[in-house]
Symmetry: none
Subunit: 206 residues, 4 copies
DNA sequence: AATGAATGAGCCTTCATTCAT
DNA sequence: AATGAATGAAGGCTCATTCAT
């Protein structure tokens, strides 16, 4: 059945997020999913292929969601205002997945995995870069350091998503869990904050 | 001899940064350091204790450097302007170490390590938080989301430090290596950018 | 359908010959035959039973071919001259099968398989022994070491059949493949050589 | 200690001879040798490297023994008479090793192992080929099929060495074991037989 | 008749650690 | 102070087989 394959992907996402790719054994994964460990080989071929399948699955389901907004208008200011909540939603819809990606992206091992991860992350990053470039060219934005502005934007989200529960507790004082209302709370704070920071940074003062 | 212990710490820092704590075997480490693998147990007791020793060593050497600046004046604006380059220097002085810390801080394993890492990271974070709080209280800063402003500040640095060589190449187009002049380049860009973003964000417009 | 069963036997014979019984997995076999791996259990019950079925099939089909020649005359010299090409043809008609048998016959595992293999091989060996014994008894052959003469006779054929392609290439300089004309070449050389050796060895000199 | 390494080699030779390379697990081997299975990795690196080490060890110790005899005279007849017992002794000194080599040489897997085996076997084969070629050139031997004469010679020894205990019992009626007196018996019979066959085959009749 | 799914046992290898010297 | 030797546990993976359909 295909929902066993799906169950493996879900459990893998959870365990990879909590303990890392190296820190998760296929025995742990199989036990957690209530299956024989040979099923991982059966469905995916290997632990590494499972990872690739996870990226494939998650990124394909996410890319469909956001397409239109940034094409609807050519005004960089409006495009930015539209992209920020859209991106935040996209990331918060699958926080564990991005926690995994960012951690693995910081390693210098398993080059094939690295390539896949970089491809996935950069696809989204480039949406933002385009707006910045257009805005600066058109004189709507100040002449900022585009690379580092992107770093700030994505760094903010990454930082929030990547921190372990323990770090969150001690840094933000507030739980960061699977609770839906909790998520809505952060979503709104994050969107407001990012818009505020980006606009203050990019827009020329009257 | 003590420089053998030091050599182990240095090699461990390098390998942990590149391949992660789990991804680095003590065999690799011993081979890289040109010693017998029993030396790790001999000097540190275990792989985990070695990690703790690494944190101990690196953080103690860094904390001494920055103490005075933030006490010298009570003006939050000036204190911020002083803290930013000081912090950036502190981080860039040991980029590998922070790359390790941030990655491990995103895991939910080995609670004892987690605690040590959180302690180390938060000690620095709190310097920044204090300035923010004072500034807002004194009305010199706008009433921003302090937690998320911190996240943005540290997220920017983390993002820059954590990305793998491959990610750097593809995201920023520029190498990020051990080259000294390269480091100076990034140091200046980063300080300028952070000050600009923070001031635009925090300072009320005339 | 029965030709699927036959296809499995054929592919099994090929793979066992190339990689040995242990070295061939039923996965490889099923894939090579383009079937589901459950078919092996389905048709044969188990991998070992498949082997037995292979022996059954090949040896039964071969035994029918050669019966008459050795009964037609009582002269050992003529019987020998008739048996040699007949045996050579029998072996060369199925070189892979004998390659398998001889290899497995050199093991000391799976006693049941061993018994079956020994039965099959000895049935043919005994035809030769009988001629030798009769010839010596009748004074037509010299009083040779019958056991070792048999060993020489069968050893020659076995050696030729068993060597891997790589060994053949390097030992005989000539390919030993499925090519029909190639086979005819070896068949004639082998018959001539064996007759020459045996006659020189067995017949008293004038 | 190095005699543990030696013990592993000895046990491996025994088990490989009895059950084949594939049919012997490193668990069995370690248990048989009374060690932890990690020692195989420790001493040899891998199961395959252990095999290579076995070949290295056995063949190096054997090559030294026989050098002089075939150089002492240029008469092919005498050289043959000297080489036969010398070769037989060489092979019977390590029957298990050659049983392994011949079996593995009949496979078409693990090309690196194949190469090593072929090298080892051919080195000895070529001593014999040279005598044959010289003898024929000098007109001392009949114009025989040199390749197949070699096959007959080595096939005889191989056949005797390779058969499993069960096959021996049923084919030769006599045990073929580690018993020293038993070995001496076969050694003499084999030398006599081979000389007789080869001389009858090669020497022109008066 | 035939198959995809599933399993438990076993494979080889590497892990961090400890021990005797 | 330092090391080669040794270990038990765990790693990812493949094995032959069975089951429900």
């Amino acid at each position: 059945m295909q929902n066993r394959r799906r169950a493996l992907l879900d459990k893998a996402e959870f365990l990879f997020a909590e303990h890392g790719f190296e820190g998760t054994s296929i025995r742990d994964l199989a036990k957690e999913a209530g299956m024989n460990l040979a099923m991982i080989s059966y469905y995916f071929g290997s632990k590494e292929k499972l990872f690739e399948a996870l990226v494939e699955d998650r990124s394909s389901s996410l890319l469909e969601k956001v397409k239109a907004p940034n094409e609807s208008t050519s005004d960089p200011v409006q495009r930015l205002a539209a992209l920020v909540p859209s991106l935040v939603d996209r990331w918060l819809a699958n926080p564990r997945f991005y926690r995994i990606l960012y951690r693995e992206a910081s390693l210098n091992s398993r080059p094939e995995l690295q390539r896949i991860i970089a491809d996935t992350l950069l696809r989204q990053v480039n949406e933002f870069r385009k707006i910045l470039q257009d805005g600066v060219e058109q004189g709507r934005f100040r002449e900022v350091d585009i690379d580092l502005t992107m770093v700030t934007f994505y760094g903010t989200i990454t930082q929030l998503l990547s921190a372990s529960p323990q770090m969150h507790q001690r840094m933000l004082g507030r739980r960061w869990g699977d609770d839906v209302s909790e998520m809505a709370h952060w979503r709104n704070r994050l969107v407001d904050h990012l818009l505020q920071v980006m606009q203050a940074h990019l827009l020329t003062r009257a």
